[in-house]
Symmetry: none
Subunit: 195 residues, 4 copies
Amino acid sequence: MLDKKQQRKNDIIECSLALFASKGFYNTTIPDIANALKMSVGNMYNYFKSKDILAKEIIKFISEYLGKELRKINEQDITTEEKTRKIVEIYFKIALARPEMIDYFLRIYLSNREVFKDGCEGMICVNEFVTEIMIYFEEGVTAGDLRDQDFFSAFGLFMGYLGGMVFLKGESVLPKPLDEYVDDITFNIYKALSV
Amino acid sequence: MLDKKQQRKNDIIECSLALFASKGFYNTTIPDIANALKMSVGNMYNYFKSKDILAKEIIKFISEYLGKELRKINEQDITTEEKTRKIVEIYFKIALARPEMIDYFLRIYLSNREVFKDGCEGMICVNEFVTEIMIYFEEGVTAGDLRDQDFFSAFGLFMGYLGGMVFLKGESVLPKPLDEYVDDITFNIYKALSV
Amino acid sequence: MLDKKQQRKNDIIECSLALFASKGFYNTTIPDIANALKMSVGNMYNYFKSKDILAKEIIKFISEYLGKELRKINEQDITTEEKTRKIVEIYFKIALARPEMIDYFLRIYLSNREVFKDGCEGMICVNEFVTEIMIYFEEGVTAGDLRDQDFFSAFGLFMGYLGGMVFLKGESVLPKPLDEYVDDITFNIYKALSV
Amino acid sequence: MLDKKQQRKNDIIECSLALFASKGFYNTTIPDIANALKMSVGNMYNYFKSKDILAKEIIKFISEYLGKELRKINEQDITTEEKTRKIVEIYFKIALARPEMIDYFLRIYLSNREVFKDGCEGMICVNEFVTEIMIYFEEGVTAGDLRDQDFFSAFGLFMGYLGGMVFLKGESVLPKPLDEYVDDITFNIYKALSV
DNA sequence: GATGAATGAGCTTTCATTCAT
DNA sequence: AATGAATGAAAGCTCATTCAT
């Protein structure tokens, strides 16, 4: 039974993640979600006590997902430069295969402070993901590949850059598909961060 | 009279810019704005036919403002590296002095596609600002300072990075004030983009 | 204009007073009231910011109404016994002519503490009415007609008694019309309270 | 088994009595009650077919309880005046020891006509209690102690008075504890009702 | 140009009750 | 008897927009 309820929660998360990402938080209503799930509105509230709480669970879900992917890369026995490329690759791969995840991150989570104010202070709800970037960075420094600078300065570059590219993609202004930028971007990032 | 009307429009833009940036688009109501301006709700509609139109005028206003600042830099007779630094500086300076502008750009414009869909396709409403970055980049390439790569690849790095840092600032996770990052960031960007 | 808005507020108070008294607070909805007034739901909220606030305004309205009636009696130059009878009479008269007032007092105000908790602590919202009873009592004592006892002991008797009778009337268990009880009740009260 | 079921019904009654009295009928949900009893919502309905029915069973329960206490007094071989005092005493004693009972009576039963409409017409559900007051009154008259007046006139005085005092207590406006009013109140009531 | 009352659709959330297990 | 997920109608309240003045 526990499993079944958890499965249902997951369904709701996946479904509302897609809806929020594509229509925005305030333009997606609980009836919209319930409808898409062929579930009654009232029953939704048996799983998530409020729309805000649902939104927070989603970002945690995404952070865990991204974190796991990054962990796989961090665990590989490859050079920092190769890791850099793989991170760029996986980010764009996810942006392609599951665009709702990156979109949610960029457009819902980052932009609706008021929703995430209570319970996601700082980077709590996104901790799993940030941690892996931190590990990537610190191991790179330890290995003598990356310059030892303020972590956030490096983090801002890496993630701002990738996010920015996905934004541009979303605006349909990129002349080439995202994956054709991997070389350039990896090169730029590594050039910027390396010793 | 025309001037007076234009002045009034400007007041509305400045006021709603501040409100949208701090509370979000959907959490700022027309009565909120009217109230802040000590103006009647109905009268607001004599100046802007709808909330969405107002939002679009605001982003144009910001783009023009930022564009002008960048133009001043582009017009200076300094090295590309110096320009790079000055752009970083002015961006952070504005983020400090008029945070609502950068916030609006990052949290309202970039995140509420549905609002800007009709009328701000591509980068139309933000054209003035993007153009200056393009000029900076192309002149840098012409001067032999910057590598000749896809513009958006460079744009994404530059703007994604700066935006990312302001986001981090907003989340209060940065250990140092923004301006203390200028050196690092300028260095990283220039390192990434230079030949 | 001020007058017109005040008039409208009054209409709403009178109408919702009647509805609350007859159907109960929780069984009367804002749409019910709006409907009865041929007014839109949204517009109701231009006059009263919430259902609770409306409920509080109503009890103040009633208290003022009752207070004024009692004041007229207190101001008369008659014996305490005659005043006693007149108070009983006016109470029953109002219970007959405007039963919603007494009903609201007994069934809405006294029974829904949670609604009146904030803003009507103690007897604030009912002050006008209680004050007059207090005056009646103290003048009676001063005149040497009433025993000098704890005010609330006298107040509880007087008002509990009258309220109780109206309750019984509401339950349709009284064999006679209310006004035929005036003699008995006046006699009992005066007998109880007099020296 | 039957006994066990009856015991369970009793538990539900006691528990929901407390909840209704403290939070109000409409602010107490079936899940609230089920929760407090560590029982499932569905199972509650095996014992009481609806919330309204539960409410009616509760008032009967209270009436029986109060009735029994009064009966004990009526059966004693004491003067009417002594009986009067003992009734006041027991009423306040219960208001102190089991305030939920008196509160339920005053705030739930008397104020939510719509709930008790079908099944508790007149004073059916409260019959046990009223009967004892009637016996007290009639025996007092027979004994030559009380004036022979309309029963309800006397009942309203007695019960309205006591209820009023408990209301005042609930509003925290009484300067003294309830039991210190026993003398005054007994005196007033007996003075009013006696020949 | 200016006011603000009025509209009404729509939102989030609640809850008595049912029913499959 | 017991569980608790599911239903769905309805509640309080909001707000972009209109319009009579």
